[in-house]
């Protein structure tokens, strides 16, 4: 392993900008950290170089723990966005700087300088000043300078950000070539996905300080695990689908007697959409009818927007596309042969099929605010926590007045306060796999406390917590609580269990959480933790809602101060997954 990061956390004014990032980079691997601006990718890179100190976690370079070493001692090559060349030195002196610092002999310096200038294809530029070179040439010199002392890893912070498109592409090729030639372990930070695809062996997508997913470019594109990655890497239509047996359907009408299908979030790439004159002409999974609203010619591909009929598929975020009755907008892109086979114009009615749909493994598909009156339901929808969560997850927040005969699909939400315990209990008993109890004034939590009432509930609880935490910049702690009377031998067992839970959460869901072990009563320990961190959300997992101590949970939901609680009904969740 060339670079190993273990739970690296960096906070600015108590807000984590890099949140519990663990990562391994192989020798000779080219990793691209991709993310929007402010996602923490540059901070993470600087932490690896030792230019930024971290608050928590460890950094290893080639097996050496460098967490507490300065940038000088880490032996890394760093390339800055704005080159950071020393303007008062010639190109040659710039390249030799690292060797001069190390008091290398003049002959050795000269030889290395020649070699590096050849590598970046700028031979004979030794005596120029950086200001006499173009931007692209300056960045090449910066790369040569960063390689002079034969560093073990090369770190590049948006190295092409200040260059125009053509030079950028050329330089990209040079970098890739050099990296291959030297077998240099490299991490490059960028916000440009095209760049990431062109360079990376592996891409790590960062968002709000978290490393959401890390994998081969084609894997990330075809099988994203999260909403963010699916829409950030390429375009995607996110739809609420209903999974039954092997297929995913896009309308919620359920034939009587059929098992209730599970609501899922489906990714439909624009290029996987098939258009046809009518249902029989669509060879793939029929989605519904729509009307072409926009056609953009773009050379090799044609981009269209198709307005689906009102009873058609439900987009994950209807709020952005007008009233639900108007139907959803579908992004479509078609190649030239497809255009020739079936030319369309604006206003044309088309049948829409989905060639390939990828279902996100997230257990939180949508929210439904359940209340007795419409006003209450509306207030719940508008509550800061629920509305921000909905917006962050780009998902639908629906309303339901009255309980109906069973829990709504996705995640029902009820208001905390008087009567909420009974409402929560009803939802869990009537098919809710998960339930969010929302205080009317609560904001997004800064702490998330995860606890399962029994070991069997862990498998279903962790993915829910992971799905939530991808969209919330909060620190997460998994709390294991055992009876105070437990003996020494059992304690070791508990500890191992807890660590297993942590590594499973990391491996399967990309959720890096801290773990803590407590001995005492559940109510006391959770209560203590909730008091210690005022802005905490509790994620509580159980295999059987009947086993919950409802007087205790009731006091938590109905007492003061009100706190958001997410209850995972593991039995129901596992049943849905098995469906």
């Amino acid at each position: 392993m060339s670079i190993v990061l273990d739970q690296v956390t960096k906070r600015y004014q108590a807000i984590p900008v890099v949140n519990d990032v663990s990562l391994k980079v192989e020798q000779g691997e080219f990793l691209v950290l991709l993310g929007p601006s402010g996602s923490g990718k540059s901070t993470l890179l600087r932490a690896i170089a030792g230019l930024t100190e971290i608050d928590h976690g460890r950094v290893f370079l080639h097996g050496r723990d460098v967490t507490h070493m300065s940038a000088r001692e880490r032996e890394v090559g760093f390339v800055f966005q704005h080159y950071a060349l020393f303007r008062h030195m010639t190109v040659g002196d710039n390249i030799e700087f690292a060797l001069r610092v190390r008091k290398a002999k003049a002959a050795e310096r000269r030889a290395r300088r020649k070699e590096l200038l050849r590598l970046v294809a700028l031979e004979g530029m030794d005596d120029r000043l950086p200001t006499q070179l173009s931007g692209g040439q300056q960045q090449r010199i910066a790369v040569a300078r960063a390689l002079a002392h034969r560093p073990q890893v090369l770190l590049m912070d948006e190295p092409f950000g200040a260059l125009d498109a053509k030079i950028r592409e050329e330089l990209r090729r040079t970098i890739r070539q050099i990296q291959r030639e030297l077998g240099m372990t490299t991490i490059l930070v960028t916000h440009d996905q095209e760049e990431a695809f062109a360079l990376a062996d592996r891409i790590g997508v960062m968002h709000q300080g978290r490393l959401l997913e890390c994998g081969r470019p084609d894997d990330l594109y075809t099988r994203p695990q999260t909403r963010f990655v699916s829409t950030f890497l390429g375009a995607a239509n996110l739809l609420l689908g209903y999974r039954s047996a092997a297929t995913v359907r896009f309308n919620s009408q359920v034939a009587t007697g059929e098992a209730v299908p599970r609501e899922v979030v489906a990714v439909l790439r624009p290029e996987e959409v098939e258009l046809g004159a009518d249902e029989s002409r669509v060879r793939s999974n029929f989605v519904g009818f729509g009307e072409v609203e926009e056609v953009l010619f773009g050379g090799a591909v044609e981009r269209l927007r198709v307005r689906m009929a009102g009873d058609g598929p439900v987009p994950v975020a209807p709020g952005r596309q007008g009233s639900p009755e108007a139907g959803s907008l579908l992004e479509v892109s078609r190649t030239l042969p497809e255009q020739r086979d079936f030319p369309v114009a604006i206003g044309r009615r088309v049948a829409v099929g989905a060639r390939r749909v990828h279902v996100l493994p997230t257990p939180i598909s949508s929210f439904t605010a359940v209340a007795e009156t419409e006003a209450e339901a509306q207030a719940l929808c508008d509550s800061p926590l629920l509305s921000t969560l909905g917006a962050r997850m780009h998902t639908r927040v629906a309303m339901r007045v009255g309980r109906g005969d069973r829990a709504p699909p996705g995640m029902p939400a009820v208001a905390t306060g008087t009567g909420s315990a009974a409402a929560a209990q009803w939802q869990l008993r009537h098919g809710a796999a998960q339930l969010l109890c929302v205080p009317s004034t609560a904001m997004l939590p800064t702490h998330v406390l995860i606890h399962t009432l029994d070991a069997g509930a862990r498998r279903a609880t962790v993915p829910v917590a992971a799905s939530l935490l991808r969209h919330v910049a909060a620190e997460s702690v998994y709390l294991g609580i055992h009876p105070a009377a437990s003996i020494e031998k059992e304690r070791a067992e508990y500890m191992r269990e807890l660590l297993d839970a942590r590594s499973a959460a990391l491996a399967e869901h990309g959720l890096d959480m801290r773990t803590e072990l407590r001995f005492g009563s559940t109510a006391d320990e959770l209560g203590r933790e909730l008091v210690a961190h005022p802005n905490t959300m509790l994620v509580l997992g159980t295999s059987d809602p009947g086993h919950i101590d409802w007087t205790w949970l009731g006091s938590l939901l109905e007492g003061q101060p009100e706190r958001p609680v997410l209850i995972v009904n593991a039995a129901q969740a596992e049943q849905a997954l098995g469906n």
Binding site: A49, L51, A71, F80, A84, F86, V101, R145, A146, H149
Partner: protein
């Protein structure tokens, strides 16, 4: 031919107008008084002029004026850099206050700072007492002159270096760090070359001001002939004795020496600029 020589596109209209104004303004404000000085001096015979020039009292005063100014400017270059550094690089409570304090010697009537210094450093003064115990006397010695010139010159260095330091981007230092340079190396090879021209400007300004300083020095120097008498004071003494020609001659000598020194420093600076920014940025 001449018109193509000077033509240089610029946002200010009328090259002829601006050059004309510059010439006129410099003539009236700078050259005319100086010419009068030269003219006055020219009424002396060569031997008279020469005897004033090498008068032992005058020679001693040159040494003090130029020596103290040079020493004070050097000390200021050093400490002024540190002050500018801490103002630019660190954020500490009261930073703005300190920043404002720097300019105070600019604004204060020089006599006031002179009296204040004398009060503090005189053998009965608050600091002077303690220094006297250590066997050091500042007031009424050449040391006092240096102290006064340091006070007067500090803002010049700080205000020149500050903007240059702001310009030295953090990523240059970080780049040097990742390349293995220690703090000393970063300072010596990265920061210093970048701010050196500004530092030299500050040094020059402080030096020029120090050579001509009168008000703050006369109160603390004691004004002992041959020992702590500065040239400007000697000129004033001559004026008080209605020896206008003698005063003019001394003034002329100061003028020539200052001009030579400043011109030399300017040449050094121009040379440095050419070396660093050859062929434009």
């Amino acid at each position: 031919m001449a018109s193509t020589w000077f033509r240089n596109p610029s946002i200010l209209p009328g090259f002829g107008l601006t050059l004309g104004f510059t010439t006129f303004f410099l003539s009236v404000i700078v050259l005319l008084p100086l010419a009068a000085l030269v003219f006055k001096t020219a009424s002396l015979t060569w031997s008279e002029f020469f005897s004033i020039l090498v008068d032992p009292r005058a020679v001693a005063s040159y040494r003090l004026s130029f020596g103290a100014a040079l020493l004070a400017a050097t000390i200021n270059a050093f400490f002024g850099f540190i002050v500018a550094w801490s103002l630019v690089r660190y954020d500490f409570p009261g930073r703005r206050l300190v920043d404002a304090l720097i300019d105070l010697p600019f604004a204060l009537p020089t006599a006031v700072s002179g009296i204040a210094l004398a009060a503090v450093f005189s053998p009965s003064g608050w600091l002077g007492q303690k220094l006297a115990m250590a066997g050091v006397q500042v007031a009424y010695t050449w040391l006092g002159v240096v102290v006064a010139l340091i006070l007067i010159g500090l803002p010049f260095v700080v205000r020149s270096v500050q903007p240059a330091l702001v310009e030295v981007q953090r990523d240059l230092e970080e780049a040097a760090e990742t390349l293995g340079a220690g703090p000393f190396h970063v300072f010596r090879r990265i920061i210093l070359p970048a701010v050196f021209p500004a530092l030299l400007t500050g040094f020059t300004l402080a030096l020029a001001r120090g050579i001509g300083e009168y008000g703050s020095v006369v109160f603390i120097s004691g004004n002992l002939p041959l020992k702590t008498e500065i040239t400007p004071l000697l000129i004033v003494i001559k004026l008080e004795q209605f020896d206008y020609n003698g005063a003019a001659a001394l003034g002329f000598i100061m003028l020539v020496m200052s001009f030579v020194m400043l011109f030399a420093i300017n040449l050094v600076q121009a040379w440095g600029r050419r070396r660093h920014v050859a062929a434009g940025r």
